[in-house]
């Protein structure tokens, strides 16, 4: 895996007087953070009792919130194969702007990351070019074809943190059973896109009145529910480790609740878009709102927010999926799925916090601590000794998303013109400041 190495060469850093929200230690208090050698030396109300280290850079955190840097476990990048959409470097810069210090990239690149040498390639490219930590998931099946599982053991040794077929579902129950069974021996996490492709068919948005009025064929919620319920049965059968990459329907929450009650090793994620937008946002065929799974109804959105608050949905991701004019500027049904989201993940989440739907601590847990824990990453915490990956946030600052400000190489944000409140003013990776706002 590629983490930016903490190094004694990094100048010590002290952030004073900030509200520190660190769910890994159930900490929410005003205090200071001391960083030495790229690691957390102290973080809390008493952190400065020993005084600041010699030569430290002192940052006044008064009025700001300090959180462990975000860990985004679903990021699509165009490298290798589609570098014009996004490279590991450009994605890492976008991540830094959004307070994300670790990204987990998906294997459905060209070529598909289904071989240890390719995992190695991605991680080396990241080490040489990226400014945040980069981890890779490897393909669950060879060539994402859904037929033969990949070399879980060797891929893990090469650094793969989980296994997924990205946007694709494994339709064969036999193959999924085998992946969960074999994966269990290696402690491998299977991250799956739960959507039954036969039922989803040619659908391009949520099935229902809105799709019918637009003359678009719909994707029924049952496409998700049936696949998720199948997967959960197979987890019960095999004892495997399973993560539903993205869920979108209220009924999926019930399935997850039942799986938890049965003690299964199951987690689930949701994209920030699905917590802040609904199917009506598609409006007049706006393709930047064409996502997979599709945006659902407002009732679903509310149910999903509650499930995140309750912890039944563990993780919030950006599902950052850079697309360009050539794949998006088409009639709705023919346009590609996906939206960029690295720069807006935290801001979108803060919209829920400002609305009183989510506590700040739960938001940070779902975007940082929980994904780090699920993937066994040394991240998502400000505990002493941890790599100093953190974000300093002015959660009151209003701002408007403007296309010309987007750092990501692709511009397909569904939040163009959206008003957010809360901006990352400093992002630190392994003790090094990789982003400030306003820029230094």
């Amino acid at each position: 895996m590629v983490t930016q190495p903490p190094s004694s060469a990094v100048r010590p850093l002290v952030i004073g007087g900030a509200r520190i929200v660190d769910p890994s230690r159930r900490l929410d208090a005003v205090g200071s953070i001391v960083v030495v050698g790229g690691r957390i030396a102290a973080a809390g109300p008493a952190a400065l009792h020993q005084g600041a280290p010699d030569g430290a850079e002192i940052v006044d955190g008064t009025g700001l919130v300090a959180i462990p840097g975000l860990v985004d476990m679903r990021v699509f990048v165009g490298e290798p194969g589609h570098e014009h959409r996004e490279t590991l470097a450009s994605a890492s810069h976008a991540a830094a702007v959004g307070g994300i210090t670790t990204i987990v990239v998906m294997p459905d690149t060209d070529p598909v990351i289904d071989d240890p040498a390719l995992v190695d390639f991605v991680l080396r490219r990241a080490r040489d070019t990226a400014i945040v930590n980069v981890h890779a998931m490897a393909a669950l099946t060879k060539g994402l074809a859904g037929r033969e599982t990949t070399e879980f053991g060797l891929l893990q040794e090469a650094g793969a943190v989980a296994f997924t077929d990205g946007r694709r579902a494994v339709t064969s129950a036999r193959v999924m059973r085998r992946a969960l069974t074999y994966g269990r021996d290696f402690g491998a996490l299977v991250a799956h896109h739960p959507e039954e492709p036969e039922l989803a068919g040619t659908g391009s948005m949520n099935e229902g009145e809105t799709a019918s009025r637009l003359g678009l064929s719909g994707i029924p919620r049952e496409a998700e529910i049936i696949m998720l319920e199948r997967d959960l049965r197979l987890v019960q059968l095999t004892g495997g480790r399973y993560h539903a990459a993205q869920v979108s329907c209220a009924e999926s929450v019930a399935a997850l609740r039942s799986a938890r009650q049965r003690g299964l090793d199951v987690t689930a994620g949701i994209a920030a878009t699905h917590l802040t937008l609904n199917e009506l946002d598609v409006g007049a065929y706006r393709t930047f709102f064409k996502l997979s799974p599709p945006l659902r109804t407002e009732d679903d959105r509310r149910a999903m927010v509650e499930a995140v608050a309750e912890g039944l949905i563990d993780v919030i991701v950006s599902s950052h999926d850079p697309q360009d004019v050539e794949t998006k500027r088409h009639p709705f049904a023919e346009a590609a799925d996906g939206a960029i989201g690295l720069e807006t993940l935290l801001a979108a989440g803060l919209r829920l916090v400002h609305a009183g739907d989510l506590t700040l601590s739960r938001l940070v847990e779902a975007t940082s601590t929980a994904p780090a824990r699920r993937l066994h990453l040394n991240a998502g915490t400000l505990a002493v000794g941890a790599p100093a990956d953190l974000a300093l946030v002015d959660i009151g600052t209003p701002w408007i998303v403007r296309e010309q400000d987007i750092v990501s190489r692709a511009k397909n944000t569904p939040y163009e013109g959206a008003r957010f409140q809360g901006r990352v003013v400093r992002t630190v990776v392994a003790g090094r400041t990789v982003h400030t706002y306003p820029r230094d």
């Binding site: 088409h330 009639p331 709705f332």
Partner: protein
């Protein structure tokens, strides 16, 4: 202050968004176009010097020739382009095609495309007026207008009539535009189809939903049949042609459920023996021939209404 024009739109992309008065303006304009088209001298000069391009990404004899005649009768230079195969195969996108054509400075683009929303997408890329001649399963506004004109000429009104739209509602842009238009003019709109051919949420679109012809046609003034595409008859949506015809094909017996003076319509092209019997299609209560005539008139009316708002005017 200048008077608000009777039809203040640059494009006609759908029935949705049109006010009742605007629909009636178009129908009234159509009446004079009918009269004009029945004269020896059919030409007017409303569009003289204007260029109209019929851009059809989907083949259509009836609609394309109807728009061509309408444009020519109003004096426009009309060019037909079938883009179904050539450019699309070369990887040119819809937007590329739109921008290429826009550079040739047409005044009106008449567009048919197989994808819902495609015509609206194209309209955002060009500087001229755009008429939707059918976009996927979304809308086909001139078809709904010609249907309304045909009904109004035969029944004297549309308000308070009961219109049963029967068949493949799911894939039909004709059904969607008709539902919007007929409801706007005060008709009771029913849809009659097997559940596999009904879109989800149809009951919230202001229609009454029926699954049998006996119930759906009971008391209807107008029976509007829709075409069932051949690829949908093979077990994917209905099990077979003969079963579909048995339950939903319009024959004289099923027509008997409707009012004694009920009239029959079909947007064409028909599958005789699938959704309608030849005896009904060609019988005394059929308005199918008149619909075609009204098609030219309605398209003349639409082009004339847009002529007042054309750019470079």
């Amino acid at each position: 202050m200048p008077a608000i024009p009777a039809f203040p739109h640059r494009h006609l992309l759908g029935i949705e968004g049109l006010a009742r008065s605007e629909i009636e303006t178009l129908l009234d304009l159509s009446e004079s176009a009918v009269a004009l088209s029945r004269q020896v001298e059919k030409k007017r000069a409303v569009l003289r010097g204007r260029t109209q391009i019929n851009l059809f990404f989907e083949a259509s004899t009836r609609t394309q020739s109807s728009f061509e005649l309408a444009g020519k009768r109003l004096g426009a230079d009309v060019m037909n382009m079938s883009v179904g195969s050539s450019s699309v195969k070369k990887g040119e996108t819809l937007v590329d095609t739109a921008q290429t054509l826009n550079a040739m400075r047409p005044d009106i683009l008449v567009v048919r495309h197989h994808a819902a929303g495609a015509v609206a997408l194209l309209a955002r890329q060009v500087g001229c007026s755009v008429v939707n001649a059918g976009d996927g399963a979304h809308e086909h506004p001139t078809q709904a207008l010609l249907d309304a004109l045909t009904i109004r000429r035969n029944k004297g009104t549309i308000a308070d009539l009961t219109v049963a739209i029967c068949g493949d509602i799911l894939h039909s842009r004709v059904a969607r535009s008709n539902i919007l238009l007929l409801a706007a003019l005060g008709a009771e709109v029913r849809v009659v189809a097997p559940s596999t051919l009904l879109p989800s949420g149809i009951d919230r679109m202001g229609v009454k939903v029926f699954r049998t012809m006996r119930e759906g046609l009971d008391g209807a003034d107008i029976v509007m049949m829709l075409r069932l595409q051949r690829e949908r008859m093979d077990g994917s949506y209905v099990p077979s042609v003969r079963e579909y015809f048995h339950y939903f094909g319009l024959d004289e017996e099923k027509l008997g459920y409707a009012k004694p003076d009920a009239l029959v319509m079909h947007p064409g092209p028909m599958n005789r023996g699938v959704e309608i019997t030849p005896a009904v299609a060609d019988g005394p209560r059929s308005l199918i021939g008149e619909q075609v005539e009204m098609g030219v008139a309605v398209r003349m009316a639409v082009l004339e209404a847009l002529a007042g708002n054309l750019p470079n005017g």
